[in-house]
Symmetry: C2
Subunit: 344 residues, 2 copies
Amino acid sequence: MAGTRVTLPDVAARAGVSLGSASRALHGTGASPAMVERVRAAAAELGYQPDATGRSLRMRKTFQIAFAVADIGNPVYVEMMTAIQSVVAERGYRLVVASTGGSPQSTAELVAGLAAGLVDGLILSPLRTSPELGQQLTSSGMPVVVIGRTGESTLDTVTTDSAGGIGQAVDHLLALGHRRIAFLNGPLDTTPGEARQRGFDAAAPAMAAVGAQAVECRVAADFTVAAGLEAARALLDEHPGRIDALVAANDLLAVGAIKAAVERGLSVPGDLAVTGMDDTELAGVFQPSLTSVSLRSSERGRAAATLLLERLADPGRAATTVTVAPTLISRESSSTLTDEEVAR
Amino acid sequence: MAGTRVTLPDVAARAGVSLGSASRALHGTGASPAMVERVRAAAAELGYQPDATGRSLRMRKTFQIAFAVADIGNPVYVEMMTAIQSVVAERGYRLVVASTGGSPQSTAELVAGLAAGLVDGLILSPLRTSPELGQQLTSSGMPVVVIGRTGESTLDTVTTDSAGGIGQAVDHLLALGHRRIAFLNGPLDTTPGEARQRGFDAAAPAMAAVGAQAVECRVAADFTVAAGLEAARALLDEHPGRIDALVAANDLLAVGAIKAAVERGLSVPGDLAVTGMDDTELAGVFQPSLTSVSLRSSERGRAAATLLLERLADPGRAATTVTVAPTLISRESSSTLTDEEVAR
DNA sequence: CTGAAAGCGCTAACAA
DNA sequence: TTGTTAGCGCTTTCAG
């Protein structure tokens, strides 16, 4: 049973039919019921498993699609991946997860490699983009869906208004009465970093209207808890008692910031309100639970997968952009309740 | 540039050499420097990318390996995956992530599918096993490394002493003076659930020796935060004030338990000490940070990947088992410090 | 509806 | 060292 692979000729021989008939009986169309029955039986008897490689070579199709991200440790991507996986699996595709590294060049290399007949299509969520990358993606001829932005309008894209999401967070904090607001962002040369900065800057009029001030915009080295912790420490130490609310560019930074606040004896939300973004599972679970702007990662993953399947089915169709609206989910980290009330 | 794939014959023609020479010049051995140079140049000129499918079919090798897990949402698996990825990538392999579903049957189906020439090997971390699965794995003839246990000693295996790890957690709590200890486990019909239950049961003598009692062993529906929250609520409500420490079978359950405790106005660790297992990033980051037994997920992933690569290189070698020792990492959730001290 | 045969892109065995 | 050729396992024409 082990080792010796059973091939289609074996099955055909066993069933006493030709190779072509065996193939048609198993996958193709135009075989008589009797033939199908016979071949099926022979295949089952021999424990035949069609060889994916032979099939791929002949059909010029691998039934694999790739999901390429910079940082698979980020729960956002895990969420997207789960969503993508379930959509594509339904249509008989397998998912290959690839790691891009942060830079556009390494992403470009990855795409080139993938284009080598390894996958039928690609869902890409790059942290940093460049015009060249967009170029390469379009010219590679491989079906691609970008989650985020490339500036290349010829590509299928799933976007979300993360800038507007930051605006929602600011509005929320202003409505709760906070007036001295800091912004904790990730690297500005990333797509999300740039967009979220834009969102915070755009909130200036709303803040001015109620006499609130933006105390500082701080940039963490990365969109991670560790980077958020470090940056928030510095931020809080430089403005002791002068910040009453902090908008973080994602949940991981927010968690780092809360940790920094607690280290300094500040209570959250009592002394400092904090909001995150992405509404990862962590947000609902953290202590205190984290107010976060949902960017609907699952939905974006699902949309990207659907878009890719559609393009695979019809390569000539026009590029489509799906936009998903952000929603603020209010939780304890920005409530004005006391800790005891919150505990209830 | 797009669409029309350039193939090896194209390169050979451009370089004015034969197909075979072109192949050898690019990958194989035994080509003159001049030949290599010429072919390289032609390939670069045409933007040649070797086709993975043709190569795989001919070489009977895909350079892909699969990592199959039940629940990719669990940070433990993400950690393993990252480790595996970095090891195998170094040797030119790509990683395919597959989702098994919880049951042995669905795992079996997955393995059968994967065996169809899709991957060269498999790293499997099943939640539930059955003798049949072990059988199938050995007889499939595909190189497999199991992270966990199958009972099949003919398979390469990476294990850890999670039972002993639970013992460490109990000892730790006893040393801190806790005497009424509850155990929050995941499903008992899973490999980790069974092992961790065994570990807690085995700690009975140590507990008896200092006059401590096991208040209850509770089984959550799943190894998730949500299931932990629900189970811990019931547990705490049924034994009000009668539990001073809780051993959770993993970090997710522990986080759920802490949330349940806080809901009930209990302070952690003041009123209830909690320990987790797996030492995920969450443990260090959570508020309060979580004492956890590290099972060295990265190391296990790395070991599994290394084992698999070795087997790929030498299919005939004897099955090896690598065992990784657990270590308790003490943090705030089990400290005896007050919250204020902890904040420092 | 079935059988025969071609060939997807590549590597490796065999000749020269 | 190089060219020629067979063939990996499969699907899909093309005849019959």
